[in-house]
Symmetry: C2
Subunit: 225 residues, 2 copies
DNA sequence: ACAAAAGTGTTGCTACTACACCCATGA
DNA sequence: TCATGGGTGTAGTAGCAACACTTTTGT
């Protein structure tokens, strides 16, 4: 029953909603194993990482240039055989980025970093398909019981933007009257004196999420549709 | 940025409700560090453990003789400095055991295994106090959104037993008429033709949880009181 | 008959669902 | 004036919270 020394990696599921489609950031592997396959950004835990959270931040910054985003630990995978190099335990993190961060990395170029629709992924290295499936389920659940969806928007957004995020993650349309009623009645949105002009039609009012008001609520709201 | 080889432990939070009090199983450490302190049962991941789940099962069996119980992964802790021996990443699991398993291990003897009320813990080794606090929060949440409470009961139980489990974990009393109404109306309990005779008063009907009926529900019920 | 816990109904209120049209803007 | 998405109200229903007394059993 030899006590094994294993290696630990921290991998990150970076989610964003682009034009109503839930997408995830993948990197093309430069080395074996699985050279040239798409994989989750991530890497080995190092001495410099004081915490697992900071390791996730570092990996995200190094591999994708993304920082200052919502980040939370998801699940840890450690089956024998999931990495051909030996026993590797992977702590998976989930990051949610707004449309602003979209510009930070190109969408499908030679940099080896690209957004992929979660419902239409390429073949993936290791057991990353399973990890993404797990994260997707968690995300669906999270937006119904937490204000996680706001992390997928810019600071200022329209109610339509918000609804698009919900529809993209839930994979179904929702009634816009009831949707607006629930969020406007929740007391967590600050209406701004600004509008977003998108085309030759009525401009939409912009809102901000008020973390402060959210914390003051007597009960946690539920955003189920 | 030397890639570190770290050691991985799997520790288990074994919860049970005894006489209306939520308790957790702790072991007294036999060796340094933290010799003679109370700690969570657990140990290092070994070559024989094909999965993290099976490592948790093995540790639970070895240290506490408990098996065949509800077990789920909770969270992974990996801060530098949480173990004086070096970098240790701990995958924490949560186990829920019924009153039947109570007999398997004595309650406070020289065996070094004992139940402790979660609201009145002894000084603990490592960062185990923090891990228990996290698990307690998760458990509170779980019984409201899943049938986890049934794992804390014997197969046959009275509605009062069930209510006692909820009250013990939530730390507050609930209205028994509404409580019974919700569970009887949920369609997940099978009423047995048996009663439990506890004293010189009316015997209570026994029920069983029907996993099968639960799975068939169109929507997941919510057990909030 | 008493002590102890099991078991039971109603009412008011809140919150959800379902559903279809008018509004404001730029071209 | 038209095309486009932004924005609004109501009625019916279901589910929840609050609330106190009667029933069954053993002694």
């Amino acid at each position: 029953m030899a006590t094994e020394t294993v290696r630990v990696t921290v991998d990150i599921l970076v989610f964003a909603v682009h034009q109503g489609v839930l997408e995830i950031l993948l990197v093309k592997r430069k080395y074996d194993p699985f050279k040239s396959s798409w994989a989750l950004p991530g890497g080995f835990l190092t001495d410099e990482d004081k915490t697992l959270d900071s390791a996730a931040e570092r990996e995200l910054r190094e591999e994708t240039n993304v920082s200052d985003v919502y980040l939370e630990q998801l699940y840890t995978f450690g089956d024998v055989g999931r990495d051909p190099r030996g026993r590797v335990v992977t702590v998976a993190y989930m990051a949610l980025v707004g449309q602003e961060e979209l510009a930070l990395k190109p969408s499908s170029d030679s940099s080896g970093v690209a957004w992929w629709p979660v419902s239409d992924l390429p073949p993936l290295a290791f057991d990353h398909a399973r990890i993404i499936a797990y994260g997707h389920t968690r995300l669906r659940y999270k937006i119904e019981y937490t204000p996680a969806a706001f992390s997928l928007l810019q600071k200022k957004f329209t109610l339509r933007d918000l609804q698009t995020v919900y529809e993209g993650i839930l994979g179904k349309g929702v009634d816009n009257r009831n949707f607006r009623k629930k969020f406007l009645g929740a007391g967590i949105l600050k209406a701004l004196d600004e509008t977003s002009q998108e085309g030759s039609f009525r401009p939409a009012r912009l809102y901000e999420f008020s973390e402060n008001d959210f914390e003051k609520l007597p009960d946690r709201p539920v955003f189920v549709f």
